[in-house]
């Protein structure tokens, strides 16, 4: 028998930083799955769609987007309607930025390792000029923009190429491999670019040595692969490389819209068990859901509001005595046997993990659930997703006698919030609240925040089940 390894106390784990960005990509909206199928059927609708796209100023001024980058807490958003309400188009906030499309084209080229994106010389030059003036300029590989500049009409004429915008074309990698088609590749490249931008903001804001991050977990909505392994991955490592994390490796967690919460839990477990010291969780945005509910928006004379791609990054490490703890002993999971009705799902995610540790539901200050922006979903008839979730959570609190039935509305108002996230579900599924939660649990007056995510597994036709996971964040005891 060899010498025993010295026993070490396992650390508490904290989330020390979180950032999120948006790329405003109205020119990409017609390449979303729904518009791509519907617009070619009717030129008149395509014309209305194009006329209803928002300017950068309107998208940046949009109040939910300002909540996304941290300039306003969701509970402090003005009364709706938010759309066409004016306001200041503030580009940056404490959590990140809203990048204009012309600049984002350059970022796409900067993270394109295979020369698949072609830009017109004008588009490349405009993007290079803008990115050179960006606060993170030194992190961008601007030489790739020069390499991307080409005769854009010739690129558009290449087999199976996709005309993204007048100045940008996405090539396919192999004309006969669906997984390497231009549509799939731009989905993946956009996710890589947005996640990379969020991670670069995180590195800048946290000031940590990029070489100190051991592992990056991707939790986005893309499927990277080829015909022989269609969802092969690995976005985590691709983003690690693009952001200069030379000592990191990575992998991806897939779980439909719920993926980021299990990714956070797995990352915390890796740190808490001593496998790694620092782990980042990143999520990018793909084109698929752009313009998804355009028919509802056009029928209500609204602009196309699904015109942004989100990216997020979070950093987990051992207790620093300051940052909010992630409570690995308060993780909720939706078991196979749990049942699929909404009260059963919420019982598993919002009640059981708290009850197991003797925490009353009123001892959680904020519940972050699926925070889809209702202004986007309601015109299409999909209702107010967060409001539905909060009603169920509050009803369960009443059933548990943590509150009186008469206190349900107050519970929702105090501990819930309006949805403010773009409808890319993995970003809406409580992840969008993470930077707000860190603020609330450090400089704010909250002590506990529950992150709660649900995923529609049944959409992939391998199970009739859904899934979900929750985890409690808590103010650091030392702070």
């Amino acid at each position: 028998m060899g010498p025993r390894r010295e026993e070490k106390a396992l650390p508490d784990v904290v989330i020390s930083a979180a950032t999120q960005v948006l790329a405003h990509t109205p020119g990409f909206a017609r390449h979303g799955s729904k518009p791509r199928r519907e617009l070619p059927k009717d030129p008149a609708v395509a014309e209305r769609f194009a006329a209803a796209l928002r300017s950068y100023g309107a998208a940046a001024a949009y109040a939910p987007h300002q909540a996304w980058i941290g300039n306003v807490h969701p509970r402090d958003l003005p009364a709706r309607p938010w759309v066409n309400a004016g306001g200041a188009p503030t580009r940056t906030g404490p959590f990140g930025e809203i990048m204009p499309q012309d600049e984002f084209l350059g970022l796409l080229a900067a993270v394109d390792d295979f020369g698949l994106l072609a830009l017109s010389p004008h588009a490349a030059e405009a993007a290079a000029t803008a990115l050179a003036a960006h606060p993170l300029a030194k992190a961008f590989d601007l030489a790739k923009l020069d390499a991307a500049a080409t005769d854009i009409e010739a690129a558009a004429g290449e087999a199976k190429a996709l005309r993204l915008t007048p100045g940008a074309v996405m090539r396919c990698a192999q004309a006969d491999d669906e997984s390497l088609s231009a549509h799939v590749l731009i989905d993946n490249l956009a996710a890589k670019a947005t996640a990379t931008l969020a991670l670069l903001h995180l590195l800048e804001r946290s000031g940590i040595d990029p070489a100190s991050v051991d592992y990056v977990i991707g939790a986005g909505e893309e499927a990277i692969g080829d015909r022989y392994q269609r969802g092969g991955g690995n976005m985590g490592k691709a983003v690690a490389q693009a952001a200069g994390l030379t000592e990191a490796s990575g992998a991806d967690v897939k779980n439909f819209c719920a993926a980021p919460v299990p990714a956070l839990v797995i990352a915390a477990a890796l740190v808490g068990s001593g496998v790694f010291n620092r782990v980042a969780v990143v999520s990018g945005g793909s084109l698929a859901k752009l313009g998804m509910k355009f028919q509802g928006h056009l029928s209500h004379d609204l602009p196309i509001m699904e015109d942004v791609l989100g990216g997020t990054a979070a950093l987990l490490e051992a207790d620093d005595g300051r940052s909010p703890r992630i409570r690995l002993d308060v993780v909720g999971r939706h078991k196979v046997s749990a049942g699929g009705s909404q009260p059963q799902v919420m019982e598993a995610l919002a009640v059981e993990p708290l009850a197991r540790q003797g925490i009353r539901m009123t001892e959680v200050d904020d519940y972050a659930t699926e925070l889809h922006n209702p202004e986007i979903t309601e015109p299409q008839g999909s209702g107010d997703v967060p409001a539905r979730n909060y009603r169920v959570i509050a009803a369960l609190a009443a059933a548990r006698k943590d509150i009186e039935r008469t206190e349900i509305a107050d519970f929702v108002a105090r501990r819930g919030m309006p949805g403010f996230a773009p409808t890319q579900g993995h970003l809406a599924s409580s992840l969008c609240y993470l930077p707000h939660a860190l603020d609330r649990l450090t400089t704010g007056d909250a002590n506990r925040v529950l992150l709660l995510a649900k995923g529609s597994l049944f959409l992939g036709r391998m199970s009739q089940l859904s899934d979900g996971m929750s985890v409690l964040l808590e103010r650091n005891r030392a702070s």
Partner: protein
């Protein structure tokens, strides 16, 4: 009402799932020919 009828059961992720609708329809004597749950957000 559903006895002997063919039923397509489409559930919604925030509401009633497809299998739950199908179970009810079957109990009422329907022939459930398709079951799915969809996400509309």
């Amino acid at each position: 009402m559903l006895q002997g009828k063919k039923v397509i059961a489409i559930g919604e992720r925030d509401g009633i799932s497809g299998p739950a609708i199908a179970a009810c329809a079957k109990a009422a004597g329907a022939d459930v020919v398709f079951v799915a749950t969809e996400c509309f957000v």
